[in-house]
Amino acid sequence: MARTLYDKLWDAHVVHQEDNGTALIYVDRHLVHEVTSPQAFEGLKLAGRRLWQAKTVLATPDHNVPTTDRAAGIVDPVSRTQVETLDANCVEFGLNEFRMDDSRQGIVHVIGPEQGFTLPGATLVCGDSHTSTHGAFAALAFGIGTSEVEQVLATQCLWQKKSKAMLVKVDGELPAGLTAKDVALAIIGRIGTAGGNGYAVEFGGAAIRALSMEGRMTLCNMAIEAGARAGMVAADEKTIAYVEGRPQAPKGDDWQQAVACWRTLHSDEGAPFDAVIEFDAALIKPQVTWGTSPEMVLSVEDRVPNPIDAPTAVKKADWERALAYMGLTAGTPIAEIAIDKAFIGSCTNSRIEDLRQAAAVARWAVAQGRRVASNVKLAIVVPGSGLVKSQAEAEGLDKDFLAAGFEWREPGCSMCLAMNADRLEPGERCASTSNRNFEGRQGQGGRTHLVSPAMAAAAAVFGHFVDIRGLMNEARQ
């Protein structure tokens, strides 16, 4: 029978099946960070339990780490304790950890793929909802709670019920200057933040195949914002080329066998999906969120919507609340919204390709005699990992950013969720490449507009949102 990619990944990991549909699923890879793991380790200690397979775990602190001078350590005592607790637990349980001062440290969802820890065909979990990122490698990857973190550490397994399968098919060619971030936001804008509830989503179609691995990771990262616990993309030559030669990738004979297996990681012709949604990439425009949910998104050509036009009474109330929180007036052109800060980073958009796209805008600005606009108080670039940072520096991207007035920081989650010192002040407005624009997400009272890296860099330079397509035309002339 023709099977979907999700069927194949699921079937390969069922350890035991109960009559009521619950299955025990084997977990191949487990990423651990400092925020959701301490209670799990404590639970293991209290019960006197050992780890099932310590070598399937890779740990790193990311949420609480400072992005400025690392040598100064962590000032906030609560943050420091969480990071030190992770360090101590990794020593006690014999886990591989990239500590704060390790050049390989970074956001869990960036370092997993970077190390070849994330592999096609694997199941991968982390106590973090954006674990869906790793599905870009034709892996089954999803976020779990603290009790489940403990369960995976102790047993390598999870109790799961199989989801339904959805295919999001994006055909056509994405216009120049547009990125996977725009595709992700356009999809969420159409299907809504609950559109993927109960589904494992596979992204397919010509436009997805044309995306780089970085782009596919951005897309799968946002699957959770569409309500789907897992997002995935079929494996192809790009997937294999990305993994080859990474520190933890298979070598020699294993590599040959692995590649042969990975070439089967796609949905069979005619495989049944419970839902199929189609998009034409050529019609997608640069996306900017205007509200407090990722589904409140429009193109940079649009105007802030009027709640009167909301499709339902509930949505009308949501829109009114969102506009009040965001300090926006219906009818304002999106391109006229001025920003106070810009943040380029997070597990959505902090990989080398993202930084290249943003740096290109910075370079263009410098050539025009421009720099970060005077109304923009802070524009920071936070690479996703120490290795991304050094590669960017080797390419001179840091110089481009610095010359244009951006700050160049140390890797971590940073202003994505403001658990460290990087945050918005009440009322401040930010062009952000992260994934959540919830109230208070980037700091209490802060106002977040989600955009692509190039759009964020351009907004920093102009002081308000601009259409990256027009800027690219200018750059070409």
């Binding site: 390969a12 350890v15 035991h16 009521n20 025990l24 084997y26 191949d28 301490p38 209670q39 404590e42 639970g43 209290l46 019960a47 339990r49 099932w52 609560v78 304790t81 969480q82 607790t85 592999l119 065909g121 694997a122 709670g145 603290t146 009790s147 489940e148 403990e150 369960q151 102790a154 047993t155 390598q156 397994c157 109790w159 298979p250 294993d254 590599w255 066998q257 692995a258 297996c261």
Partner: protein, 212 residues
Amino acid sequence: MKPFTTLQGLVAPLDRANVDTDAIIPKQFLKSIKRSGFGPNAFDEWRYLDRGEPDRDCSGRPLNADFVLNRPRYQGASILLTRENFGCGSSREHAPWALEDYGFRAIIASSFADIFFNNCFKNGVLPIVLAADVVERLFVETEAREGYQLTIDLGAQTVTTPAGEAIRFSVDGESKHRLFNGLDDIGLTLLHTDKIKAYEVRRKAEARWLFQ
């Protein structure tokens, strides 16, 4: 997880509806890196006159004498009697952790919030739903008699009053099995240890690179 078979214990009445998880354990305690030790901070805002902070010793804090759980006659209670929609609010597992650490092994109410209800079973606490009029009667009896105890038998699915009246309650078979045998998800998974090991052998043969 501690198995739950039978429990005879003192009943404490919390006569409020819609007790939310933020009331059960206020949000400042989520910064903690611990899973145990939340008992002294259960119902923190109602229980003490000052504001609680993580890692602060509670033994010297001023108690709110008006809060029912602070009354001498309810010290050592292991059964909490309360009203509808208990445990609403966030999904934090800290709420059942705090109640269990306080000493409650069973909670009787006319209804519970869904996520909290499931979290109780994951953490060794038995939530029992009884009809509103039965709950009302138990409130009257508990308050009328100091030292009022109930006997809960999970196997028989009964709550028995001191007068010998056995009140039946229903519980989903899977949850009952887990709690009765003290099987948390980990314990339950470890029952399948042989299957996990067999899976690993089988899988190693077809995808060796995942095991290096």
